[in-house]
């Protein structure tokens, strides 16, 4: 019966808000009651009034971020694994530490670094090498860079956990049986680390889908992401039902991607052993 309080907490803190948002999403536009007549107009508007653009930016941004993070995390995790004792701890702490600093603070730091002329990167290049470089600040590239920077640890650590659980003797056996480095990665490392990589990718994707600050601070709002659009509906536009409908869409997309992945991996096996 110990699960009862947990179930209650989940119901109150998770299901109830979603239920409220769900109901709002089928209320007439610009109303603030949950008892109006049911209507699909917000969902229709979501597809007809240009909201697909921010949605597409968010989904493609999140996908790209996830892929880039995975590509970066693999060699990093391999390198960390080969480091010994205190060195591995040191580098791990270096990578993990930023998680404890507010995301906005980090992103503003990044933006200082990227600023044109007086920025840290451009200024140093100018002063030290007498080279003038432009700046990517306020572009989509800068936003993507920020996304990768912020979400990287969420991919790295699950992947590192997955990799570290591969028994060294299985790798040695594979090598002994003639596997090259590439074959070792394809046949042993990748499949055995896959659950960790998938969990990391999920974290990254879900977080990146809801990300907003990167585009605001580094991307200079060069495009509008869905979170920003939702925020606008709730705040400036005072159109809660529309915001709720967009929120439900994001939740649906997330569930569509997350559930099949969860069905594929054996979480028990990942956390035990």
């Amino acid at each position: 019966m110990t699960s009862l309080p947990v179930a209650l907490l989940l119901a109150a803190g998770f299901l109830a808000p979603i239920a409220i948002v769900a109901i709002y999403s089928i209320m007439p536009a610009r109303t603030f009651v949950l008892t109006g007549s049911v209507t699909p107009e917000n969902y229709v508007a979501a597809f007809t009034e240009g909201y697909w653009r921010p949605l597409m930016w968010s989904v493609s941004g999140a996908l790209l971020t996830t892929i880039l993070c995975l590509l970066l995390a693999w060699p990093t995790a391999k390198a960390l694994k080969s480091l010994e004792g205190y060195r591995a701890t040191f580098v791990t702490i270096l990578i993990a530490l930023p998680i404890f600093i507010s995301e906005s603070v980090r992103l503003f730091g990044f933006s200082l670094f990227l600023m044109p002329a007086g920025g840290i990167l451009a200024g140093t290049m100018d002063a030290a090498f007498d080279v003038s470089i432009g700046s990517i600040l306020n572009t989509r590239t800068a936003a993507l860079l920020g996304m990768v920077y912020v979400h990287f640890p969420f991919v790295l650590f699950p992947l590192l956990l997955g990799l570290s659980q591969i028994p060294e003797e299985q790798r040695e056996a594979a090598r002994d049986l003639g596997a090259s480095n590439w074959q070792l990665m394809r046949e042993i490392d990748a499949p055995l680390a896959a659950p960790g990589a998938l969990i990391g990718a999920l974290f990254c994707f879900v977080l990146a889908l809801g990300a907003n600050a990167e585009m605001r601070i580094l991307g200079g709002q060069s495009v509008t992401v869905i979170t920003h659009a939702i925020e606008q509906r709730f705040n400036y536009a005072q159109d809660w039902p529309m915001g709720a409908a967009l929120t439900m869409l994001v939740i649906a997309i997330t569930a569509l991607l997350v559930l099949p992945v969860f069905r594929r991996i054996d979480i028990d096996r990942l956390i035990r052993r």
């Binding site: 028994p167 003797e169 299985q170 040695e172 056996a173 594979a174 090598r175 002994d176 049986l177 003639g178 596997a179 090259s180 074959q183 046949e187 042993i188 499949p191 055995l192």
Partner: protein, 347 residues
Amino acid sequence: MVEASEPRPGILSTHGISKSFGELRAVDDVSIEIADGEFFTIVGPSGSGKSTLVRILAGLDRPDSGNILLRGEDITATPANARPTCMVFQSLALFTHRTVGENIEFSQKMKGVARDARREHALRMMEVVRLPREYYARPVTQCSGGEQQRVALARALASDPEILFFDEPLSAIDYRLRKILEVEMKDLHRRTGKTFIYITHSLEEAMVMSDRIAIMRSGTLIQTGTPHEIYRRPESRFVAEFMGEVNIFTVADGRLAELGIAAAQIEAPYLVVRPEYLRPAGNGDADFRFRAEVTNDYMLGSRTQFHLDAGGTSLVAELPALAAAGIAPGDVGEWGFDRADAVPLAD
């Protein structure tokens, strides 16, 4: 065809290989010559460096110094995946995310052999190790300990290595099954004709299977020989004691110190007598005789073991059932052994 009497050509030899972990010399100046097709076993207590040595031979680790020759060719710097050798690990190291068939086919897949040919080869290997065909598509995690053992063997054999290394592959298996697998291992060696280099800490296991045994102690091989030689002529107390329960006497001033009897013409400082060579000598026919009291008896199947007290010194004797009849704890009498059965030891 090689004549049976002709000495077999060497396949693997090492020259002064050493490896240290910090201050510890895990393998210390080991030189061995192993003949083609030989079943060579390295026996030693835990921590004596057996695994370290065999990992070096298999190419999984590099020695600090010394070199390894395969048919006269230096392979010291050749990595494991380029050596025609294969190792069966103590943990078996089966690929847990793969089926029995995929495990066995692994080496062939690495070579780019086509799927059908691989499958055929794997099924043949399964036959060699007596695994039923139905196991082909089964996940290895669903196999019993003994079956996994066979999968590991088949996987190693499938790579068609010239030398197979085994690092205590049977130590995690219960006694009965181990006895069966020991016999199968020996049988497999005979049928495949490959060179087996086997590691165990059980001398009993080594005795059953090996053509030759090397005893390892603190990183060095202290004695190498046939099971018979090792058993009958241990060169040191360590080997003698490792061989099981023995009686060791100290020779001082021409006497066996423990028994207080004359030991003329024995130069060595120690004398070893196996339990089966101690016998009742009431009729005075043994070269060395002493009085002893039987303190305990234990049935060992076809033999009986007696614990003796010879004036304060504890001794062990083993007699066949017939000779043991009528001897009981509390009996006091003459016991003895012959000079030919006692092995002098230098240390």
